[in-house]
């Protein structure tokens, strides 16, 4: 199987689906000759032309609104919001409009759009270009929230997103764009609401998303050398959330640590922990359930400050060791 980057996997998913379905088109800022701010759509203008690689003025609300309007007539638009932070400019369209239209119109229409947007810190882009907002989107019934951590998942989940009849927020991570993995050519769809156990283990369950998945896996491999066996679960889609896989894992390991880059307060770790502690897994817990999340601060510019704002491998390792040692 060919090995390609996360970024290339996303492009391949878009490319192949546009070849298959003429109703799919891309809309966003600088997605044409520039190839998108991170290069995801590089080369697509030449292949598909300016009608289907629809470059827009800097008008985020109307980018999403245009996707909505076109979807009402049977199109399958994929909008790109250049940085996740800019999604606030389009939030009325995404939340009050896209997420609610199927419901408030009594099921008589639906809004099959995908809004792709890269989140996350680590690029020195400071407070307005580095946020992780996935928890917020989970609070809006009618949306689906997708958050792949590997090239394979990125392509498979993107294909599912483009075929889903609902509005999907497809969250990419800037630090994952260059990571490599095996991705088959041709179509394959990964279903929503199915978590993947990225590494089986018996001592402790880690639930993590996007860039925290490879970080957790790296720590787990190191700890394995000492005989500590960590299970790492990637929910892959946060809405719907595969709670069964997580609950079953905690029943097996008796310990849970949820890790995300998003700020801790109001973050999705709380949702997972509430679900697990309110489930049959409660009786199997051998330790308090814990979360390791981004600090409750805007992302700073300075390299070391930025690093210290979000969980790093050493933080993850320290937290796992503390839980296993009973030091809470």
């Amino acid at each position: 199987m060919p090995e390609i980057t996360y970024l290339e996997a996303i492009r391949q998913g878009l490319w192949e689906e546009m070849k298959r379905d003429e109703n799919v088109f891309l809309i966003g800022e600088d997605i044409g000759r520039y190839g998108g701010a991170f290069g995801v759509t590089h080369g697509m203008l030449d292949e598909f032309g300016p009608e289907r690689i629809r470059e827009t003025p800097i008008s985020e609300a109307t980018i999403v609104a245009t996707a909505i309007g076109a979807s009402l007539l049977g199109m399958r638009p994929v909008a790109e919001i250049m940085f996740m932070d800019f999604v606030f400019l389009a939030l009325d369209q995404l939340v009050n409009q896209a997420a609610k239209m199927h419901f408030m119109f009594g099921g008589r229409t639906n809004v099959p759009i995908v809004v792709r947007t890269p989140g996350g810190s680590g690029t020195g882009a400071a407070a307005q270009h580095s946020q992780s907002l996935e928890s917020m989107f989970m609070h809006f019934p009618g949306l689906k929230v997708v958050n792949p951590s590997t090239p394979y998942d990125a392509k498979g989940l993107l294909i599912t997103s483009m075929r889903d009849p609902n509005p999907v927020v497809f969250i990419e991570h800037k630090q994952l764009y260059k990571t490599k993995g095996e991705v088959p050519e041709g179509e394959y769809a990964i279903p929503f609401g199915v978590a993947e156990i990225k590494r089986p283990g018996k001592d402790l369950t880690v639930v993590a998303n996007n860039v925290m998945v490879p970080r957790s896996l790296a720590v787990a491999e190191r700890l394995a050398l000492e005989g500590i066996d960590v299970e790492v679960i990637d929910p892959r889609t946060l809405l719907p959330l595969d709670t069964e896989t997580i609950i079953n894992s905690v029943i097996k390991t008796g310990r849970l640590l949820v890790i995300h880059e998003a700020c801790q307060t109001g973050g999705w770790a709380g949702e997972v922990i509430a679900t697990v502690t309110g489930s049959r897994a409660f009786d199997y817990l051998d330790a308090p359930v814990r979360r390791l999340a981004g600090k409750d601060t805007p992302i700073p510019y300075n390299r070391e400050l930025e690093r210290s704002a979000v969980p790093q491998e050493e933080d993850i390792e320290q937290e796992i060791r503390a839980i296993l040692a009973g030091k809470y």
Binding site: F25, A65, T66, G69, S71, M75, M101, F105, G107, N110
Partner: protein, 351 residues
Amino acid sequence: MTNEKLKKSEKHGIEEILSGDGAGDLLAQATKLGLSHEQLLEMFRTMCTIRHFEYMADQLYAAGKVHGTMHLSAGQEAVAVGTARAVRSDDYLINHHRGHGHFIAKGADIKLMMAEFLGKDAGYCHGRGGSMHIADFSSNSLGANGIVGAGIPHAVGVGLALQMKKRDEIVVAIFGDGAANEGVFHEALNMVALWKLPVLYICENNKYGMSMDVERATAKLPIAQRAEAYGMPWYCIDGNDVLTVYETMKEAAERARTGQPVLVETLTYRYFGHSKSDRNLYRSKEEIKDWRENRDPIKRFQAQLIQAGWLDEMRASQIDAEALKVIEEAVAFAEASPDPDPSTLMEFVYA
């Protein structure tokens, strides 16, 4: 009134636009517009139907039969009917929270509208939307919006899809004077003009955004002149004269259909308050009375029809009574319909 004529008027021309008494030569006008006697009477009837729907809604609310809120369009019937008859029946409609009249004029099933208003399962949205979110996709009405201005940019997408699919329908997107001060108004006008989309924007200026007088909210009037910034043709017209609306929308729709988006501002007035909580503290009784007595779109049209010899008082009362009957039947249907079953609550969250 076209741009040229408006530009020549002093101030911003609004007084001039509204100075017409509506007593022009109806016969000559109808002939010019190609409207038959029958078509004119149908327009009159539809205006009466809208008026009765709104008065009935107010009565039902007073009787405690309405759970939620409502935004009534009585006084604005000429915009709804003049527009709906000027465009094609398969053209798309995107409208705002004060939308009952637009739906009725476009041919929505009044029974299903009333059922939705009363929150019934038989309603257009199975009781999920209420007055503010009626939609009739079977007649290409894409839904009323509760967020001021939010439908304006949806028209960009509908127009883009029509262009990409090489279809010849247009999208008519109606919003109010208040919505014209939302940021998406400017984003959307820029994009429809840039991409030459088949969009007819109508700014239904009823003088107030809730309680805010348009003159206190808008730096330069008329609102429609903002279209110039985007290179779009614009019109500002008397929205209470149904044939002026018809004539203008006909021309504007033709331009939109050839890929030239247009903005038309229609000057009109709402008789009821903004919504059920409104005590009309921001406008005078005299002002409301003046509009009701001197500029009422139904009275004016009726007078024109009578003057032309195409209607008499008795026939007018008969049409009005028939319109009321349609509304009463809709109420009977809605009241006899069951509420949605609470067990179906989660239906329609996801498609």
